[in-house]
């Protein structure tokens, strides 16, 4: 198996909070990998570090064995890693088409004059193809700010994809949108994955993760506690512990309560 993206021993603290400690993950080429864990386990922080929005205190990030730890967000993007945000980020006062064109700016050689019309014929065609795929081609001329939340998510995904990234990091793509749209997004991811795009997805929607991802990594308190195929991971006691708390603690509490009762009776 070829590893497309991996992190080694990432550590990051914010003030007194250790968000990540020794986070080591691997994302296989052309896979759909899920990254799950309870709130505060460090998933978005890890995303931010991978994509250059944060600098780790320790550890490294490798893209096809090339270290990219210190790269700025735009360099990471240029290297072929696209990323969406938990709170969808689009350009509200630009049209949907223009949103797509912004993502295509970096691909141009220096020769293209800045005063030339934004978006060449081929750029626009590729953008339209993505928009059609996403089902929002009809709104190409509308201001992105008029889109609904679900449509914005699709737009953000579309403009990340139009730049032809090899790897896409999705931060809660299914968050806050209705079930039929979730299905649409899952279908799109599968289709793109079949064409060779690698996905790393942070998501809380377990159904979404388990049905879509071929491989799942679980973070808890900033470290990896389990990794493997979805069926294996979901049954792993450490994962259950991370999300729900141990059965052992409950048993100990019950024993104590019983002991108190008995001592009270004497």
């Amino acid at each position: 198996m070829t590893v497309a993206l991996r992190t080694e021993g990432i550590a990051k603290a914010f003030g007194g909070v250790q968000a990540l400690s020794d986070a080591t993950i691997e994302v296989e080429q052309a896979s759909i990998t899920g990254l799950i864990g309870p709130n505060g386990s460090g998933k978005t922080t890890l995303f931010n570090i991978i994509t250059g929005y944060e600098r780790p205190d320790a550890g490294a990030v490798y893209l096809h064995d090339r270290p990219i730890t210190a790269l700025s967000p735009q360099r990471v993007f240029a290297a072929g890693i696209g990323r969406t945000f938990q709170l969808t980020r689009i350009f509200p006062r630009l049209t949907v088409m223009e949103n797509m064109l912004v993502a295509q700016q970096h691909g141009h050689r220096r020769r293209v004059s800045p005063l030339s019309r934004a978006g060449s014929q081929s750029d626009r065609q590729r953008a339209m193809a993505q928009l059609e795929f996403a089902g929002i081609a009809g709104q190409a001329g509308e201001l992105a700010g008029t889109l609904s939340y679900g449509q914005r998510k699709l737009l953000e995904l579309a403009y990340v994809l139009v730049a032809d990234p090899g790897i896409v990091l999705l931060d809660e793509p299914a968050g806050g949108i209705n079930p039929s749209l979730v299905g649409l997004i899952a279908d799109r991811i599968r289709a793109l994955n079949a064409a060779g795009v690698t996905f790393l997805i942070v998501e809380h929607n377990m159904e979404f993760v388990m049905s879509l991802c071929q491989h799942v990594t679980v973070l808890d308190y900033g470290t990896v506690v389990a990794t493997g195929p979805p069926e294996v991971v979901r049954a792993d006691p450490r994962v259950l512990d991370a999300y729900l708390g141990t059965g052992e603690d409950d048993q100990a509490e019950a024993d104590e309560a019983e002991a108190d009762e008995q001592s009270g009776q004497r």
Partner: protein
Amino acid sequence: MTTGTQKAQVAGPAGVPSAGGGRLASPAARLTGLGLVAVVALIFPLVFTNATISNIAVQTVIFIAVASAWNIFSGYSGYLSLGHAVFFGTGAYAVGIIARDANVTGDTVFALLPLAGLIAALVAVPLGLVALRVRRHTFVVITIAFFFIAQLTASNLAITGGSSGLLAPVPNWTAATFNNPFYYAGLLIAAATVALSAVIRRSRFGLQLRAIRDDEDRAVGLGVRAMPVKLTALVISAFVCGLAGGLWFYFIGQAFPQFVFDPLFDLAIALMAFFGGLGTVAGPVLGALVLEPTQLYLTLKLTNDYLSEILLGAVFLVVILFLPRGVLPTAAELAGRQRARWQRRGDRL
């Protein structure tokens, strides 16, 4: 209603999805309108020969240029500058100093204007490099700081004539059509600026600017190089303001610090752009066309300066509170809604 089933999308006129929430008029109508405006603008001083009216006309075209230039920077990038008077004043003083020291008079003074613009553009580079590193709140304040530094510098240096300022060279053409050369020079600058504004708005450069305005960090993350883009817009804006400032100085006849570096200047051009529609091409033009003559007319009628100040503030508040996006975008949106209503009515029949 999921997007997957939204295939039956209502198309705007000519089968093209309506852009930006509704256009005010079709392309053909806009072209004819533009032609009409051009004709009117060209023959205006020949028809209206009254000195007062042509005086107002000169200042109006100058401010059309300045408001459009301000919009090219502040409107498209979202960085509000309240210090553009620095560039305007630099242009004015540049013409004044060079004309005085190199003894330039008459027609030739017009040739100094591009030089004045260039000097203002050069001044914009270090100012921009400092000011554009900070967030928007702080940016506005820095522009105000630069404004006061400029005013102070002009008051204290001998070369700028200190607080008494400079006198412009005396023009050498007839008094009858005295205002006309100024008018046509101003019209040329204004037309070129508006055209440039339109080109920029449609261009790659403009797209990057506007993306910066909406979400700078995301734009940077997608590869937009923020500082060069913002700085270029500022330099272009400064160049035009320098041109306009030089012309204005020649027209008005004098420049002294309080007059040239006037805080109301920046507020007025911001209001013009806001009034017409910030970030649009025609907005600042409309704003200047409406507000500049009004302001000048009021200054003539009202002996009391202070009343015009109060009115300016009041108009600004009204615009901000009730027409926050400006006249043109609001009108375009209303037109779009009306068209949609007609279409629905048409579908029902």
